[in-house]
Amino acid sequence: MPTYDLIMYDEEFQKIKEILSRLRMDTNAKVAFLVDKNGQQIAAQGDLEGLDTTSLASLTAGNVAATDGLAKLIGEREFSVLFHEGERDNIHISIVGQRVILVVIFDERSSLGLVRLRVKKASQELEKVFDDILKKVEKEKEAMAGGFESPFAEITDEDIDALFSE
């Protein structure tokens, strides 16, 4: 596997949620959420009612991936910030530590300048959390010596069949 599996522990998960929550309050934004580059939602904070966060996550990642492709075409490493302006709501998308995508949805109660400023700060904090996660995973792998003990090590055919039973 070229990429590590993303593993999230409770401690870091809580930290991420705190950072997002603070970011949202500091910017007066509606929603702050975090997606991995493959389109899987990691955490979300804010006014999520009526918002299809799964679709949002997948489309955001698609958007970033396509923009990444564009960047490479013209010889850029990446476009680290994307901004979509709507009539009421705007979306600010930024890439954190080349790994995850931070999305902020805001309206006229906030401003692009404020969002940019606060996102920068939150990104640094998030980057640190993800570094910690990586270290933790590495450590666990070492501790296991023979290999990482996946919670799925004991998975059986019956478990899997049960998923598909009507």
Binding site: M8, K37, Q40, S150, A162
Partner: protein, 194 residues
């Protein structure tokens, strides 16, 4: 890349449907979407052209239940099959945990099947994956068409590593869930090894 969240006790898995243009990848997803309990599925997104050709991807999230106390969430993607959308195909393959190859049984499409399979192998390699090791299943779609090539012949042409293979008529749902189940199973069993 599987995403395991110990805190929320969730596991997220990305499955990609690959294959030549007009082979029935989107139809597979649509059947799954239509036949899945509304509780278990999210919205299906299709980024398609005006003529319903997939432009970027189709996306369907499925929550199938729990395994070992973990909520198991599958994200199904299709790639655009048309040859010139290769850049988009590469993007969608990123982070895939498993691939289902939907081939078209019509004789006239055999060449396109082979080309698409080669393209899959190449694009996986570019991402650092290997088709020989990634969970992979093969589907022979459109078995109902009069010009369908015999299964043995298709197997000879398209079999890559003795992967699980299914005959299908995606428009009628035949073989669709069998394919999904097989690839999901391979991915989950693959987690065992990690």
């Amino acid at each position: 890349m599987t995403f395991i969240n110990y805190s929320a006790r969730e596991i997220n898995i990305k499955l990609v449907y690959y294959g030549p243009g007009l082979g029935g990848k989107t139809t597979n997803l649509q059947w799954i979407y239509n036949k899945t309990d509304p509780e278990a599925k999210g919205k299906m997104i299709s980024l398609a052209t005006e003529t319903d050709r997939t432009l970027f991807f189709d996306f369907l999230p499925l929550d199938l239940g729990t395994v070992k106390g973990f909520k198991t969430r599958f994200h199904l993607y299709t790639v655009p099959g048309q040859v010139f959308y290769d850049a988009s195909r590469k993007l969608i393959l990123k982070g895939a945990d498993g691939v289902a190859f939907v081939s078209d049984s019509q004789e006239a499409r055999m060449e396109a099947n082979i080309e698409s399979l080669k393209n899959l192998e190449k694009n996986l390699k570019e991402q650092g994956y290997d088709l020989r090791t990634i969970p992979y299943v093969l589907q022979f779609n459109k078995r109902d068409l009069p010009s369908a090539v015999p299964v043995e012949e298709m197997y000879r042409l398209l079999n890559y590593k003795g992967e699980p293979t299914f005959e299908a008529i995606a428009t009628r749902g035949i073989g669709v869930f069998e394919t999904l189940k097989a690839i999901a199973k391979l991915v989950l069993l693959d987690l065992k090894k990690k």
